[in-house]
């Protein structure tokens, strides 16, 4: 059995699954339940200055559903903790005493004034928290007051606030990044420049869930008006994975430890995050949708996966896929693949044909010798993977590489040596 115990910035926890800073970590009651269920750590619901903020007493959440009401995406307009700071600090102190083997991280959000950091950082550290996480990502409400994403979108602010925190803290400082930027690297570099110990990402994505089809107002509203919220859940995982991989594969940011957040619902999602460079992961939406019990599958599934891969610890998985991520221009243009349909598995739904016909390269038949049959026409197939993507039968359509002869589509011989856009004759900027 693989050992799931995790060490992140020297903070030990029995597994790499932390609950992200959010409603499930707002008070001792919930956190006790989470630790009883087996979670490795929590990032406490973001603390702020007293007096506490107030939340709306209307809907805070909205969901992007599948037809059977599975949650595809989720958004919220809840702010940071609305409880007095001392109440939270007492709870945190108690939790750290009761659960010394679990990670307890204090998420904080403070104004861009050094005095605030000087005053609150030592007070919070005194609870016994293992680290700080700086909330520079919350995209709603707090950002209107110059905090949260308003800081995270300006690298200079990230650096300045992080420096203040580092100045008054003796425990590690994690900078939580917002995805509401065009390029994640400048914020990551700013955190590094301020000597942050790690980054965590992503926070939620700016979003409006939908319109109310009766009232034709946005949905949901509080007294007829609504405000954009932060989008999370399975739908945002690919956004998170891209940003994590960018930091992990870029030379000057690759050494920053990453805590991965975004759309983790089962162990496979965690494998995605870890393999693309995260050292541990944080989960919120899945716990809000299913409760804390999902930790059983997360830990059990990850453990079985590591066993199957012959790995004995989580750290052996971290970053394994990073080297496979590159710029488009370095993709091998001499590599030729064709789709191939396994007729024994094909159920003849014809989806591959119609999407290839309507949206791709007219490379799949619908009739062969007068009967319904779906076959790839190699002379037309560009290997785009659309048919594989829409086929309802797992493993029915696969991509097969051509390694010799000629490509029936182009009539060009197959070259086994790699050649990419940087040297392609059609590229006016090619390397000569």
């Amino acid at each position: 059995m693989a050992n799931l115990s995790s060490e992140f910035l020297g903070i030990e926890s029995p597994n790499p699954f932390w609950l992200a800073s959010a409603p499930p970590t707002d008070k001792a009651y919930n956190v006790n339940r989470a630790f009883e269920a087996g979670w490795g750590g929590v990032v406490w619901k973001t603390l702020g200055e007293d007096p506490p903020i107030v939340n709306v007493s209307g809907p805070r959440y909205a969901v992007n559903y599948s037809n059977d009401r599975r949650v595809i995406g989720f958004n919220n307009i809840e702010l940071i903790t609305d409880r007095p700071l001392s109440v939270n600090l007492d709870d945190m102190r108690q939790i750290k005493r009761d659960w010394p083997d679990r990670a307890l991280v204090a998420s904080v959000m403070l104004p861009m004034e050094e005095e605030s950091w000087a005053r609150y950082v030592p007070m919070i550290e005194e609870t016994g928290a293992d680290a700080f996480e700086l909330n520079f990502g919350c995209p709603h409400g707090m950002s209107e007051r110059g905090m949260g994403a308003a800081v995270g979108q300006v690298p200079e602010y990230i650096q300045r606030a992080t420096e203040w925190c580092k100045k008054y803290a003796s425990i590690p400082v994690i900078v939580k990044l917002t995805p509401n930027v065009t390029d994640i690297l400048p914020p990551a570099r700013a955190a590094k420049a301020a000597n942050a110990d790690a980054v965590s990402l992503i926070n939620t994505v700016n979003s409006i869930m939908r319109v109310d089809y009766d009232t034709l107002s946005m949905y949901p509203t509080t007294d007829g008006m609504g405000s954009h919220g932060g989008y999370c859940g399975p739908a945002v995982k690919p956004i998170a994975l891209h940003m994590i991989a960018e930091i992990a594969r870029t030379a000057d940011t690759a050494d920053i430890p990453i805590s991965g957040i975004g759309g983790i619902s089962d162990w496979r999602d965690a494998v995605d995050h870890l393999a693309l460079g995260a050292q541990n992961v944080q989960v919120c939406t899945a716990a809000m949708v299913y409760g804390f019990k999902i930790i059983d599958d997360l830990t059990d599934g990850l453990s079985n996966f590591l066993d199957e891969k012959g790995m004995t610890s989580v750290s052996q998985l971290v970053g394994k896929a990073v080297d496979s991520v590159t710029d488009w221009k370095y993709l091998n243009l001499n590599h030729i693949e064709k789709a191939s349909i396994n007729q024994d598995l094909c159920i003849s739904c014809g989806r591959c044909h119609v999407v290839c016909e309507d949206a791709s390269h007219q490379a799949i038949t619908s009739m062969v010798k007068g009967s319904r049959r779906f076959e790839v026409i190699d002379e037309e197939c560009v290997g785009c993977n659309l048919c594989v993507s829409v086929c309802p039968v797992d493993g029915c359509i696969t991509m097969k590489q051509l390694t010799s002869g000629t490509d029936p589509r182009t009539g060009q011989p197959i070259f086994n040596e790699k050649a990419d856009w940087t040297t392609h004759p059609n590229n006016p900027m090619r390397v000569k």
């Binding site: 599948s66 037809n67 059977d68 009401r69 159920i347 003849s348 739904c349 014809g350 989806r351 044909h353 119609v354 619908s366 319904r372 309802p392 039968v393």
Partner: protein, 456 residues
Amino acid sequence: MTNHLPADIKSGRLSSPEIEANFSDMHPPLERPEALIEADRCYFCFDAPCTTACPTGIDIPGFIQKIRSDNVKGSAHTILSENIMGGMCARVCPTEELCEEACVRNTLEEQPVRIGLLQRYATDSIIHNKLQLFQRLEDTGKRVAVVGGGPASLSCAHRLATLGHRVTVLNGAQKPGGLNEYGLAAYKTLNDFAQTEVDYILDIGGIDVRNGKSLGIDFSLADLREEYDAVFLGFGLAGVNELRMDNDRVEGVFDAVEYIARLRQTGNMSELPVGRKVLVIGGGMTAIDVAVQSKHLGAEEVTIVYRRGEQQMGASRYEQDYARTSGVCIRRWLAPKRLLLTGDRVSGVQFEYTRLADGGELEGTGDTCELEADVVFKAIGQQVLWNAMEDTAKMLELEQGRIAVDDNRKTSLPDVWAGGDCIHDSEDLTVSAVQDGKLAAMDIDRFLGMKNGSGE
């Protein structure tokens, strides 16, 4: 059988609540959450096999997609524009042999999308609320006579009416609907759905229904051809095949079709006479319907006896299973030979065992057996009752006792079309009858247009 039991036919074997429970909906309708999940199972196939399998060619993935997006009105329109009796067909179609058999999900998991129930979900509220989805074209002034009030006739009438023609439906029965009203098992069409659907169909306007008007009695085909621009014949099969045993007209022997009609029309099913031991002779849907309903009414032993094997039975495998799980015993390879009588009442039937000879024809083995019964139902098929319509029979080309038609359901006469059970090669299904009526109406419309064009 030396000791014949006394005949034991009586009503009230079960209480009204028991009967009501037995005759509840065979397939309860889907609620919205179920329908959305079921609709999600549809793969939206290209050139969908289910649509190809539907005799009326309903765009099934199309209507299911509209259920998925909560566009129920659009979904109903997709269904009803191909099949105006989509509501009844959702209840009575042998979907397991048509659309659902063709569903590609069968290959993957042996569980097709429940197309019939989704079709019912899409159409029920529209039909019950009489939400009119069709609009008549401008009146053409053309008049068409439709003979019969069943699915073929009403489908033809509706399509003709939407195309702007004026239709007169001459229906022999007291209510329109045909076998939907008089012939289907009660648990397939609850709460007077047949009449609700007829009302919906007639709501389009331009259709004048005259009940109690029979061809050959109240009017002749020659009259209609004289008076109308075109004629559609959809009078069905009024004659019941006989058992051809020398003594099959004794007490206790019933005609299944007649009994079902009585069951459908009675206000109180607990008043129907029910046997203690019931034999049903036949192998089609009517046999299943009368057997299951006898069981539901409290008969103790119900046995369907069919002279050939399972493969040859007209009733679908699903219907056969349904009968068995309802407590009906099905026996095969037995041909009725002789009724056994106690006094002047039936008390059983003697059967001869059968087999297929080398040439494939059915032959008796010579061995016999006797089964006790106080009620025997004849359910061995129906035929056109030409006796009363000899003039009509003389005017039309017939094939094996039924009306010969071309692909457009046109008869040998230039201005007469026919459809439903009375035509040769009919599939004896509601859905096929609807298609006959629709095809005929479209051909009639072309015919009437040509008449205009030629200046008549």
